[in-house]
Symmetry: C2
Subunit: 307 residues, 2 copies
């Protein structure tokens, strides 16, 4: 146990995790949860990996928007293409989280899921984070990689429940987080089975399936998992419903909230990040019983060693 979670400092957050896991895995104990009940859900952007200056999927979409504008120059004068192409953060932020993601989804409509994921993997293999100067697969939070592994060692099934596109995340979640595709839940577009010459492919349509944020997160947990998690981890007001839904079940529960307060090692932001603000959930964390995790104080290391 003492070797677990080496990138977590010995503070209230780490103690809350270790105590919780000990309680729910002690057979015969008052808080014991059988393994099938050990469902843990994690938001992705800002919880498992860096979401500054923009969510990674938004950065990824920039390349396709550029290619589309090359093919049809009139697009470059049209919003929101113009804002994306000019890196106009103020206009992008004004679209809000759902608006930005819907743009990202829309420009990939008409592709097959397989072709889309090939494109994601190629991009991930070559693109580098502008500030952190490393591949995006290394902009994940080291303490969270340790936590995911620690939970799985203790019989938990770990899920991602994110506003990000489900097909996008599944292109790397197994390799980067050890979370298989069937345990990744996200925003989605409608898929359609297309047959051509006896071959079958799933095509991404322009229609939104669901935007997996706020109260939709518990609804999608209901659709995909079918039981209430006992641990939830988020970082924004978009996660509040999932955190409180998790805490409201019977037996012992744990909800955690990353607070990005470290401008030296990462970025310090909360209510000012318009795309995905953290306001009410931070102000009322104690009232709701949510454990706040300070990047500055609770994480001894933020990112994996650069390779």
């Amino acid at each position: 146990m003492t070797q677990s979670l080496p990138s977590w400092t010995d503070g209230a957050a780490r103690r809350a995790i270790v105590d919780f896991v000990a309680a729910v895995t002690t057979p015969g104990g008052p808080d014991f949860a059988p393994a099938p009940e050990r469902i843990a859900v994690f938001d992705n952007d800002g919880t498992l990996w860096c979401e500054q200056p923009l969510q990674v999927q938004v950065l990824f979409s920039h390349d396709r928007a550029s290619a589309m504008a090359m093919a049809d120059p009139s697009l470059a004068q049209r919003q929101p293409f113009k804002a994306f192409l000019e890196h106009d953060l103020a206009t992008i932020h004004a679209l809000g989280k759902q608006g930005v993601f819907e743009f990202a989804f829309a420009i990939h409509a008409g592709m097959s899921v397989d072709a889309f994921q090939d494109e994601v993997r190629q991009w991930m293999a070559s693109a580098r984070h502008p500030r952190l100067e490393r591949p995006y697969a290394q902009t994940v939070y080291q303490p969270q990689l340790e936590l995911l592994a620690y939970l799985r060692e203790n019989g938990f099934k770990t899920f991602i429940v994110s506003g990000g596109g489900v097909d996008f995340m599944r292109a790397f979640a197994e390799q980067v987080y050890g979370v298989p595709p069937e345990q990744v839940i996200g925003s989605s577009v409608q898929l359609e089975l297309r047959e051509a010459g006896g071959h079958f492919e799933l095509m991404k349509l322009a229609q939104l399936g669901s935007f997996d944020d706020r109260a939709v997160k518990p609804a999608n947990i209901g659709l995909h998992i079918g039981r209430r998690p006992i641990l939830a981890f988020g970082n924004s007001d978009g996660d509040q419903a999932m955190l409180r839904y998790t805490l409201d079940g019977p037996g012992r529960r744990l909800a955690l909230l990353v607070h990005h307060d470290d401008d030296v090692r990462e970025s310090a932001y909360d209510r000012d990040f318009k795309l995905s603000p953290l306001t009410d959930t931070l102000d009322r964390a104690a009232e709701f019983g949510i454990q706040v995790v300070s990047v500055k104080d609770d994480w001894a290391q933020v990112f994996p060693p650069a390779r």
Copy 2:
């Protein structure tokens, strides 16, 4: 290996299964599939348990339709209530599979998922199949229970992908089939998170989420699993898209189709079962590379011993 699948006779179907599993689990062999790729999907009604004279969920819905008609007698004169209350199979069949299931979903709108599943469990504990004279949990096919267990012993993850309601199946799938809720995919209604006094519940709305049949099955596999199965098992034309989508992937694949041809031990039906016919898929099974499983010839035993 020889003790596996004792309720399967030593014929082409059993050999196809055993050969397939040996091939994909032999490390270094040409057909080896790493464990995460070993995804097996099963239809439910008519594939894992009996769907005659009607799908179990339709029979379950009869009790609620009766209660609603007691509260509002005018309902008893209105279709499709009238047909359900009078067990008018011809009218019920004429509604088609989606029509019948949409009625079953509609009469449970407004309940929480938890309350609905409590009702399902209570009904399952007391109701008995009209012909087989046993609880519905014992109208499952013994050879399929053995197959599910055999696949899991060989590193497969077993999923249900059914036109039946996902909340309905999850009320018993773990206990009856050993398939946890997060591996059950089905038709669904929209869910909504409702808060009352700080408590959170998922409510079943009247709007359909998806009707999980035909081409929607592969689309829902894409949404929920995110990779193509390597084994699929169905019993009707509603499963054809899933079977062919499975077979079309790279590497070795297996698709199986139950043909209900045993009127002595169960029911003999295929193209005449209007709610869920088997026509084209049976006629073209060889062309598609689908292994037909005859209840009469391939299953030494159909149901578990009555308890």
